[in-house]
């Protein structure tokens, strides 16, 4: 499984570099045909590049620190034993910690479910892991402003909790029905 992932990552990277080559060639061709666009395009590219350079290394360092200091076992230990409002809160916070891609969270969620964790907590945890990551919010703040970021964040949290309860009800209901049949 681990080997597979590594191979996949490597292939993904090669694909990304090839894609970059293709896009560079397209850009160069377009700019030679339309030299008047040259300045607008290079200015934009430069502006965005500078902004990324200022922010990405810091975000990556935070990601690295969390990946090493917050172990998956730690997250599972805390998430496994709480429920209710506190459980949902904890699920959001633990999910939002910057500790890696979503596919790591699936097996964790599966183990927790088998151990009897609440379905709603697990859904909140997965959704927070997917879309409420702390470094993501920082980059969103940088590029889209505080109003946009805060509004989207609060709406996401509210609706994710509603979704989680809904999914729990649907699954319980369908399992209850299957049991009586």
């Amino acid at each position: 499984m681990r080997e597979d992932l590594k191979k996949k990552q490597k292939r993904g990277m090669i694909r990304d570099w090839i894609l970059l080559g293709i896009i560079l060639i397209i850009a160069i061709i377009l700019l030679t045909i339309f030299p008047d666009k040259n300045e607008a395009v290079t200015n934009t590219v430069w502006d965005y590049l500078v902004e990324m350079v200022f922010i990405l290394p810091a975000v990556m360092i935070l990601l690295g620190l969390f990946a090493v200091w917050v172990s998956n076992e730690m997250i599972m230990k805390y998430l496994g034993k709480t429920s209710g409002v506190r459980g949902i809160f904890l699920a959001i916070i633990l999910g939002a910690l910057p500790t890696g891609p979503l596919y790591i969270a699936f097996p964790m969620a599966a183990v927790l479910l088998k151990k009897g964790a609440k379905i709603s907590n697990i859904i909140v945890f997965l959704s927070a892991w997917a879309c409420i990551k702390i470094p993501q919010e920082m980059v969103e703040l940088q590029f889209l402003g505080v109003q946009f970021m805060l509004l989207r964040l609060s709406l996401t949290i509210i609706l994710v909790i509603i979704m989680a309860v809904l999914i729990e009800k649907i699954i319980e209901w369908s399992e209850g029905k299957a049991a009586t049949m």
């Binding site: 397209i26 377009l30 990556m60 946009f148 709406l155």
Partner: protein, 160 residues
């Protein structure tokens, strides 16, 4: 450098210093992970930036706003939301892309829908999600996520 970037860099440096004081070995390991993920992300960073450059340079704003601006309405939001669900762009890079689209006349709703579906829904990771959590839960989560992403987008469009 704007205020946000300064704050983030200060936090990162402070955290790194604390890490080094607490445990040198672990801190170095973190830096290695950071470097590796940075390099892994690098080609995608350039790709997105070049696409933004071409988009802003070649596609006139009225074209963009026709497809994903205010007048495109619900259809625009749904199309962009679907694109976000299917595309596989690192979330970190969706924000500069989103801000360039906003600059070019895309609506707040469309941009919010794009970011939200992109992060919440994973069509590429869906097989793994089904394998680990079962068909019912995985499909419910991704399906309802799409609906709430659209709701989030529409509310944001009204407020902002």
């Amino acid at each position: 450098m704007n205020a946000t970037a300064i704050v983030i860099n200060v936090i990162a440096v402070a955290a790194l210093l604390m890490a080094f004081i607490k445990d040198r070995k672990k801190a170095i390991k973190s830096l290695k992970i950071a470097g590796k993920s940075f390099i892994r992300m690098l080609p995608m960073v350039f790709i997105i930036i070049i696409i933004i450059g071409l988009l802003l340079g070649f596609v006139p704003p009225d074209q963009i706003s026709k497809f994903v601006g205010e007048q495109s309405g619900m259809t625009g939001v749904l199309i962009v939301g679907a694109a976000g669900a299917v595309l596989h762009i690192p979330a970190l890079l969706s924000f500069p892309l989103a801000s360039s689209l906003l600059e070019e006349g895309a609506s707040v709703s469309a941009v919010a829908a794009f970011i939200t579906t992109l992060t919440m829904i994973g069509t590429i990771t869906l097989p793994l999600e089904i394998k680990e959590l079962g068909k019912k839960m995985a499909i419910l989560r991704n399906g309802i996520s799409f609906v709430i992403a659209i709701i989030i987008a529409l509310i944001m469009g009204v407020i902002l």
